[in-house]
C-alpha cells in the first residue's frame, strides 16, 4: 500500500516567489540609492566637460549632422537635410525639428505653396 503524498499548500511556493520578487525590487531601490552619490559625481563631471569644451549637443545620434547637433541644425532653407524633412537616416525619426518655424509653411498643393 502506497503512502498518501503529504499535502503541500500551493500558496507556499507562490508566496515565496512573490516575496523574492519583492525583495529584488527593494534591492533595486537600494541599488539606485547606493549608486546615487557616484552617479551625481559623474553627472557633475559631465556638466563640467560641457562647460569647458562649450558643447551644445548630446552625441546620441552621430549618423547625420542634423541628428548630431539638432540644436544648431539649419532650418531656414527648404529641401535640405533637417529634422522633419523626408527622412533618410533611421535616427531622424527620433529627432523632431527644432523650430520655431515662423509663419511660413511647407506644403505641396498650390494654396499651401503660395502661402
Amino acid at each position: 500500500m502506497t503512502q498518501p503524498r503529504p499535502y503541500r499548500r500551493p500558496s507556499t511556493p507562490v508566496f515565496t516567489a512573490l516575496g523574492l520578487l519583492l525583495a529584488l525590487a527593494v534591492a533595486q531601490g537600494g541599488h539606485a540609492l547606493a549608486t546615487a552619490p557616484q552617479q551625481a559625481a559623474r553627472l557633475a563631471a559631465n556638466r563640467q566637460i560641457v562647460h569647458d569644451l562649450g558643447l551644445s549637443d548630446l552625441a546620441l545620434f552621430t549618423e547625420a549632422r542634423y541628428t548630431r547637433h539638432p540644436a544648431l541644425a539649419d532650418h531656414a532653407a527648404p529641401f535640405q537635410d533637417a529634422p522633419g524633412s523626408f527622412e533618410h537616416f533611421p535616427s531622424g525619426s527620433f529627432v523632431p525639428p527644432a523650430g520655431p518655424w515662423g509663419t511660413a509653411r511647407l506644403g505641396f498643393d498650390a494654396q499651401e505653396v503660395t502661402q
Binding site: A44, R47, L58, A71
Partner: protein, 378 residues
C-alpha cells in the same frame, strides 16, 4: 488570525484552480509581464536619459551666434567677437572651431573640435572619445590616429588622451584638435570661426542682449541656452510619444487578451462557481477567491515586469533599445545611465495594468456568484 487562515485557504484553492489550466495561465502571466516589462523599460530609459541630458546641458553656452549665408550656416568673422563683447552683460566670448569629419575607413562621422585654451592638445596630438577608438579598433596604448582627406593624403595624430565611457553621451564621437592643426587640416583661413559662444552674466538679460545683438548683426542667427533646452525637451517628448504610441498598442492587444480571459466566464468556470455556492460558499467567498486570482496574476506580473525592466535598463545597458540609438551610425554612445525612478510614473503604470485586470476578473464573477446556484449549474 482566523481571517488570515481563511484568506490563505482561499489563496490555496485559487492557486490549485489556476494550476488546472497551467498553460493558459502561465501564458497569461508571461504576456502580462512582457507588456509591463516593455512599458517600464521605456519609462526607466526615457526618464534616466532625460535626467542625464538635463544635468549635462546645464553647462551649455548661454548664447551661440551663427553666421547664415545663402540660407545655411557659414563661417563667422572674428570681428563679431569684439562686437559681441561690446554689449553690456556679455562675457567670455570665444570663437568656436568645429566641424565634421567623415572617416571613409570605417564610415563613421566624427565631430572635430578645437577646445578652449587649457584643454587644447599640443600640435600633432588629439584627444578622442571612446567611440572613435572603438570604430577604428585602436585598442593598444600609443596607437596613432591616421586621418585622410582625399586619396593619397594621410595625416598622423598621436592620441594625447581619451574620454572614458562615463562621458560617452557627450564625447563618444569627439576629436579634439589643436587650433593650428584644425585650420591646416580643414583649410580654414585665419580670422574665421564656425560660430561664436558667449556667456551672459545675468540670465534674465539674455533676451535683451539677443535683441541688441540682432540690431548690430542682422545677418546672424542666435541660439540661446533656452533654445537648446527646448530642442532636447522636444526630442525627448517626441521619443516618449513614439514609445507611448507603441506601448498603447501593446496595452490594447493585452486588454483584448485579458478581457477575453477574465470577463467571458467559460461554462466550466460558471459551473465551478455554482458548485461552490451549492456546497455552502458565500458570494463574498467566491468574490474573494476571484480577487485572489486577479491580484496574484496581475501583481505577480507587474512585479516581474518592473524588476526585469530595471535590470534591463540599469544593469544590462538597455540592450533592447540599443538598435534604436545606433540607427545607421557607426559610432554610438555606450554610456551608463544613472538610475532614476519616477514614482508617479510607476504608480500610473500600476493603475493602468493591475487595477483593470483585477476589475475585469471580479465583475463577471460577481454577476454569476449572486445568481441562484441551480440556475448557474444548469
Amino acid at each position: 488570525m482566523k481571517t488570515l487562515r481563511r484568506q490563505r485557504a482561499l489563496a490555496d484553492y485559487t492557486l490549485a484552480a489556476l494550476a488546472r489550466r497551467k498553460v493558459k495561465n502561465s501564458a497569461l502571466v508571461g504576456v502580462f509581464s512582457l507588456v509591463v516589462f516593455l512599458l517600464a523599460s521605456a519609462m526607466f530609459f526615457a526618464s534616466a536619459l532625460r535626467h542625464e541630458a538635463d544635468t549635462a546641458l546645464q553647462g551649455v553656452p548661454d548664447l551661440i551666434v551663427q553666421h547664415l549665408s545663402l540660407g545655411r550656416q557659414g563661417m563667422i568673422s572674428e570681428d563679431r567677437i569684439a562686437e559681441l563683447e561690446s554689449i553690456r552683460g556679455v562675457s567670455k566670448v570665444r570663437g568656436r572651431l568645429w566641424g565634421y569629419y567623415y572617416d571613409r575607413v570605417v564610415g563613421a562621422n566624427y565631430t572635430v573640435m578645437v577646445p578652449d585654451g587649457g584643454a587644447m592638445p599640443p600640435p600633432g596630438q588629439v584627444i578622442v572619445g571612446e567611440g572613435v577608438l572603438r570604430a577604428r579598433g585602436l585598442d593598444w596604448e600609443g596607437a596613432p590616429l591616421f586621418l585622410s582627406r582625399k586619396q593619397g593624403d594621410l595625416s598622423r595624430f598621436d592620441i594625447a588622451k581619451t574620454f572614458d565611457s562615463d562621458s560617452a553621451l557627450l564625447t563618444a564621437d569627439l576629436l579634439l584638435m589643436n587650433e593650428a592643426d584644425f585650420r591646416a587640416f580643414f583649410s580654414v583661413p585665419a580670422g574665421v570661426y564656425t560660430d561664436i559662444a558667449a556667456r551672459v552674466r545675468n540670465a534674465n538679460e539674455l533676451a535683451t542682449i539677443v535683441d541688441k545683438a540682432t540690431r548690430i548683426m542682422p545677418d546672424e542667427r542666435f541660439v540661446t541656452r533656452d533654445d537648446i533646452a527646448r530642442t532636447y525637451m522636444k526630442l525627448f517628448d517626441w521619443r516618449e510619444g513614439l514609445m507611448v504610441a507603441l506601448g498603447a498598442m501593446a496595452m490594447l492587444a493585452f486588454a483584448i487578451f485579458a478581457a477575453d480571459k477574465a470577463s467571458g466566464l467559460s461554462a466550466e468556470e460558471s459551473r465551478e462557481i455554482g458548485i461552490l455556492k451549492a456546497i455552502g460558499w458565500d458570494t463574498r467567498d467566491v468574490i474573494a477567491m476571484k480577487l485572489w486570482e486577479g491580484g496574484l496574476v496581475s501583481i505577480g506580473a507587474f512585479l516581474l515586469g518592473c524588476v526585469a525592466a530595471y535590470a534591463h535598463v540599469f544593469w544590462f545597458g538597455a540592450t533592447l533599445f540599443a538598435p534604436v540609438l545606433k540607427g545607421w551610425a557607426v559610432i554610438y554612445p555606450d554610456f551608463p545611465l544613472a538610475p532614476v525612478i519616477d514614482a508617479a510614473q510607476l504608480v500610473t503604470l500600476f493603475l493602468l495594468t493591475v487595477l483593470p485586470y483585477a476589475a475585469a476578473t471580479v465583475v463577471p464573477v460577481w454577476r454569476v456568484a449572486s445568481a441562484d446556484p441551480d440556475a448557474v449549474m444548469r
